[in-house]
Symmetry: C2
Subunit: 189 residues, 2 copies
């Protein structure tokens, strides 16, 4: 077997992931059969599964890459930037996550693996610490409540997108920004 | 054919809907095959489809009943009560809605029918008008922004529930309540 360069391996992986993402978005997770994956990727199943051992491995690799991208946006540009990114995502691809939720509910092994994957959540925790230190986010509400609130909003945006609902994200984001701002006994009775 | 009483018809419909809900929750929308529906409902497909013409009709009847229940809670007891109801819903049943979203995205006829069904949304609009008149909800943000915000939060709760994430709903609801309260230049610089 010829020795392949690192660049070649990387290019192949990118080709496989791009094709798999298109295939999942088009046919759904369950509907992305091996022949459809082969066609969309342009490689035989032997070549594909040489890089990723299973369809689940392919999906996990894509989910990990999304997760890292979203974490980076949140950590570097803030919550509002992430809300805008999600409002622009391909609804068909977001829909694959919804379908995947069913696997999470019904397959304990998949659920365990999914949970063990979540390692870099502290990146957006760093964002909150920094915003608080700068006095831009209130400190009178526990961190976990703020994150529960923000995660719920992001999940809601995902769900609306996949249902084809256009959410006008800017006014909603403005309301969230205000809810997070530090306050000094400012509420009317 | 014997004449059947209205009570009998109602009882039969309830039996069919209850069984169908259990069957959908257990096997998912796609997985709820006719034999499984027959078994869970305890009636032959002839009897079932005498009342509801198709699996889609069954699902729509259940979704309509949920929708009316949720609208009633929102209109009569407010947004917070509805958030608590959703936080208590069966995750398996909520998951059926996620699966159904894929049909909404991929089948224009289903999407049209789903949209035409939404008629009683003005019930929770009435709740907002009443809360504003009583001075309990701010009037400086457009109604549609408030509803986009609240619907996004509810959708996010649904998604978290179906993923098996436990959301501690009370602190989140308290944050939302505060975000909706009327204010008088109360934010710090």
């Amino acid at each position: 077997m010829p020795k392949v360069s690192r660049e070649h391996v990387e290019a192949r992986r990118a080709q496989i992931l791009d094709g798999a993402r298109r295939c999942f978005a088009r046919f759904g997770y369950e509907g992305a059969t091996v022949p459809r994956l082969e066609r969309e990727i342009g490689l035989s199943h032997g070549a594909i599964f040489n890089y990723y051992r299973s369809k689940l491995d392919l999906f996990f690799a894509l989910a990990r890459s999304d997760h890292e991208r979203f974490e980076a946006v949140w950590a570097d540009e803030g919550f509002e930037a992430l809300a805008r990114v999600i409002a622009q995502e391909d609804p068909a691809w977001l829909g694959v996550y919804l379908e995947f939720h069913r696997l999470l509910r019904t397959d304990p092994a998949v659920a365990r693996r999914w949970r063990s994957r979540r390692r870099d959540d502290d990146r957006h925790a760093g964002w909150l610490a920094q915003e608080r230190a700068a006095g831009r986010i209130r400190s009178d509400v526990p961190e976990e409540t703020l994150f529960a609130f923000l995660h719920t909003l992001l999940d809601g945006l995902v769900l609306a997108r996949t249902a084809g609902v256009e959410v006008d994200v800017e006014p909603v984001v403005a309301l969230v920004r205000e809810a997070l701002e530090p306050r000094k006994e400012g509420l009317a009775e």
